[in-house]
Symmetry: C2
Subunit: 528 residues, 2 copies
Amino acid sequence: MGSVMAEYKTAEQMAVDQREISVAEFFEKNRHLLGFDNPTKSLLTVIKEGVDNSLDACEEAGILPEVLVKIKQLKQEDRYRITIRDNGPGIVKAQIPRIFGKLLYGSKFYKLSQSRGQQGIGISAAVLYSQLTTSKPTRIVSNTTKSKKPHEFKIRIDTIKNEPQIIEDVVHEKNFPDHGVHIEMEIEGRYVKGARSIDEYIEQTALANPFAKITYHAPDGRKTTYSRVVDKLPRRPKSIKPHPYGVEVGVFERMAKHSKSKSTAGFLSNDFSRVSRPVANQVCKIAKVKPSRKPKSLDHEEIESLWRTLQKTKLMKPPVDCLSPIGESVLEKAIKKDTKADFVAAITRPPSVYRGNPFGIEVCVGFGGELNPKGSGRLVRIANRVPLLYEASSCAITKALKKIDWRHYRVDSQGNLPTGPIIILTHMYSTWIPYTSESKEAIDAYPVILKEIKLALQDCLRKLGRYLSGQKRRQVEKQRQSLFEKYIPEAAHAISKMSGVSKDKIMRDMMKIVKKEKVNGEDVEKNK
Amino acid sequence: MGSVMAEYKTAEQMAVDQREISVAEFFEKNRHLLGFDNPTKSLLTVIKEGVDNSLDACEEAGILPEVLVKIKQLKQEDRYRITIRDNGPGIVKAQIPRIFGKLLYGSKFYKLSQSRGQQGIGISAAVLYSQLTTSKPTRIVSNTTKSKKPHEFKIRIDTIKNEPQIIEDVVHEKNFPDHGVHIEMEIEGRYVKGARSIDEYIEQTALANPFAKITYHAPDGRKTTYSRVVDKLPRRPKSIKPHPYGVEVGVFERMAKHSKSKSTAGFLSNDFSRVSRPVANQVCKIAKVKPSRKPKSLDHEEIESLWRTLQKTKLMKPPVDCLSPIGESVLEKAIKKDTKADFVAAITRPPSVYRGNPFGIEVCVGFGGELNPKGSGRLVRIANRVPLLYEASSCAITKALKKIDWRHYRVDSQGNLPTGPIIILTHMYSTWIPYTSESKEAIDAYPVILKEIKLALQDCLRKLGRYLSGQKRRQVEKQRQSLFEKYIPEAAHAISKMSGVSKDKIMRDMMKIVKKEKVNGEDVEKNK
C-alpha cells in the first residue's frame, strides 16, 4: 500500500467535493434510524411496516381488515421471503411505484390525524432494506375494484435519485381478490422466538386491533389465525388543524407565507384549531397587526409578535373527535379471549393534551386464567394500535408502571414491575405520538403523558386490588368452612346426645347455615 | 365543534392526498433525531456542529485551528445568540448558501475518511433549528484569502423545497481575518452547568484537540482560553476505498452499475481496497463471470454470485493510513495540563477492523493532581476527536468500562465504574463511527470494538495499578521510617551505653541506614 500522505486543500478544492446527498442514500447508510439495526429487528420492522399500512388503509376505507402475514425461510439461512396481503382498498396504479419506491412520500405527513404511519417512510424503507441486503426487487400486486384488473409491479429504488425504478409492470392474470394489496419481498433477517419476536408482535397486534382477522404463517410452518373479537371498526378519527400551542414560530411563519386566507385574522381562525374570528381579531390587536393584512406580507417582527401573543392567549383545548380509542369493553373482550383471564378491567380516560397535541390513554388489566403464574407479568405497550416491542426502559409507559406501588394493589413485583399471572395493556392514541426515535419504539415521557398513564393504571389496579382482596377473603372463608364441615359430624353427635334431636337433622341444619353464610358472603362481594 | 364523522375513502380518494415530503420538513418535525430534543441539548448540538465543522476544515486545509465560541443570552431568557468563528480556509462564495441552507449536502458523505462530520446534515440542521425556534436567519461571513473580500450572507432554509433562501448577500466591509468562517445564529436554548454542559463539552474538545486554540465566552460572562498543548496538526488521514467486507450486496450492485471501470475485474480491483487484479480475476472465475464483462451489464445473479464470492475470499485488512490517532504523548500532555495529574499513561492500540471499517482505540488514564478525590471518576468519551456527552449507558466505551475489575488495579469503584481522583479518556477513531443514532452520542457495541477498548483500558490500568501499589508501598515505607526515626534517639542511647560509642555517632549511622534503605526502595521501584 502506497502510504502517500493526503494533501491539504484550499477552500476552492473543498468546494469541488460538495454534493447533494439523496435521502435514500442517507437512510441506506443510516438504516438503524428506521429500525433496521440487525437481522432480527429488521425482520420485525419489515412486517410491522407492511401490517401498519394494511390496517391503516382498511380503516381509512371502512373495511374490516383481513391480513395475511407469511414468513418463509429460503435456502440461505439468513434469507426470508415475506408476504403481506390485505383486503384493503388497494392502491391506484399510478401511485404504486412512488409509495413503495420513494422515501418520504405519503399522505400522512401533512395531516394531523390518528394513524399508525406518520411519516411516509415506512414501507419504502422496507423496500430499500430488502434491496440493500438481497438486491432483489419488491413484488406488489394490487386491485382497487372488481371492475378493474389487478396490477403487478416489480419495483426497486434508485437510491441516488430517490425515485422508483419499475422492473416489471404487468396486468396480473392469476386469481386475485376484488380489492387489496399483496406485497412480497426477500430480506436478510433472523427469526427468533420469545420476547420481541414476530410471534409476540402478531399476538399483540391482534390484541390492539380486535376488529381485524390476522392469519400468520411462521417460518417453522405453524399457522395461527386470530379471529375477530368484534365485527365493527372503531370510530373513524377525523384529521384536525394544528393547535397554536403546538406550533413553533418557524412553522407559524411558513404557514403564514403559504396561507390561502386573504387576511391575517382569517389565517389565524382558518388555519388553526380553537382560534375563533373574535379571538383572531383580538390577537391581531394585541400584536399590533391589522387583521386585514395579507398573511404573506407580514414581516418578521409581526410574525413573531403574533406568535407570542397566540402562545399567551387562553385557548380551548384541541377537539378530540380526531381521536379513536379501542374502547373499554372491546379491550376487555380481547384480553379475555387471549388470556382467559379470571379478572379483566379496562379504562379509557378522557383525552388530554401535550404541546397542543390531543391524546388519550387506555389501560386494560387481566389476571389469572392462562396467564403464566410465574415470572414477569406481560406488559403490552401500544401506540395508535401498534405494539411497541423495543426500548421498553425509555418508554413513558414503562416509566409510569415503575412508579406504581404494587403492594398497594396486592400485586407481586420485582424491580418495581409486576410479576405473576397479570397482563397490562397500555394504549396511547394521538394525532402525533412523540416517539423517542424514528424507529418508533418508545414514547417520550412528557409529564402529562406519564400522569395520564398513571391515572389509568391506578384506576384498573384499584379494581384488581379489590378483586384480589375478595379472592383472598373467599379463600379464608373456604378454609373456615371446610374446617367447620370437618367438625360437623362430631358437633352434631354431641348436640344430638344433649338435645335428643337426631344427629342427621342437626347435621342437615348445620350444613344449611354454612351454605347460607357462603351465599351472603358472595352477595356482599357483588354489592361492593 | 361540529363532530361530523370522517368519511371513508376509496383508493382514488386516497391517491389525491399522496405527496412528496421534503427532507427539511421531515427533520424539522423529527428534530430529536438530530440532537435537538430539548433546549439544553439543542444549545449543545448547535455549538457542536459549528465547532466540528471549523476543526474539520482547519485540519483539511492544514491550518492550526483557532476557534472562538461565544454564547450570549438575549432579553427573552430562553433565547441565545451563538457565535462561532474560525481561522480555517473559509468557504467559497457559491457554496455558502448550500452548505448552510440545504440539508443533506456536503463533501463527507461519499468519502470514507476519518472526520468529525460524516453526513452533511449537521450545520444546516442547526440553521433549521434556529429558524424553527426563532424564525431568524443565520448570518455567515467568510473569506478564503487575503486577495479577496469577505462575503456576508443571511440565509434561511426554504423547508418545503429544502433549498437555501438568501436574505442578504453583501461584501463584508468590516475588519475580517484573511481566511475563516464566522457564524451567528439565534436559537431557543437553555444553558446549564455541570455534566453534559457546554462548559464540559468545550473542555473535552480542548482535551481531544490539543493542537487547537479554543476561546470560550460563556453566557455568564466568563471567558476561558484553552491554549495549544502541541503546535503540530495530527497526521492528515487519507480517504480510502470501501473494503468488500463492509459492502452490502445492494450497494455492491449500485457500485457496479456506476463504475467507471470497463471490465468486471477492473471494477473489483479499482473500486475496492485490498482486491488486487489477480484476486479480482480469481473471484470472477469462482463466480463464473468473465473478467472482461462490463460491470454495467452484469445481471442480478452475476452480481450476487460475485458479491458472495468476495465475502468468502480471504482479503487483507483495509489500509490504516486513513486513520489518525491523537497519539500517546500528546494525550498524556493534554491530560497532564488539564488535571495536573500525578500519574498519566496513554496507549494507542494498533488499528483493527469492524465490518470492513478500519478503526483504532486510544486510552489515556490520569490520577491524582487536581482531580476530585471524591465521587465518580471523570470518564471522557471521544469519537473522531469529538466529545460524546449523552447516552453514556448505551455506548461501547461505558460498556467496556463496566467490564473492568477495578479492584484488580487498586481503583475504587461504584456500580462498576471508577470513583476517586481518576480521569479516563477513551478515543475511537475510524473512517466510519457506528453511532447508535444520528445525533451521534453513543458508539454501537460491536464485539471487536468492545474488545479493543477493553485491551487499551487494561494496558493503561495495569500501569496505574503499579503506580498505586508503589505509592502504597512508599506510604508504608514512610510510616515505618518515621516510626523508626522516632525511636532512634532512645535506641542510640541504649546502644551507646552498651558499646561506649557516642550517642551522636550512633544516631548519625542509624539515620544513614534509614536513608539508604529508602534509596534502595526507590531503585527497586524504578527497575520494575
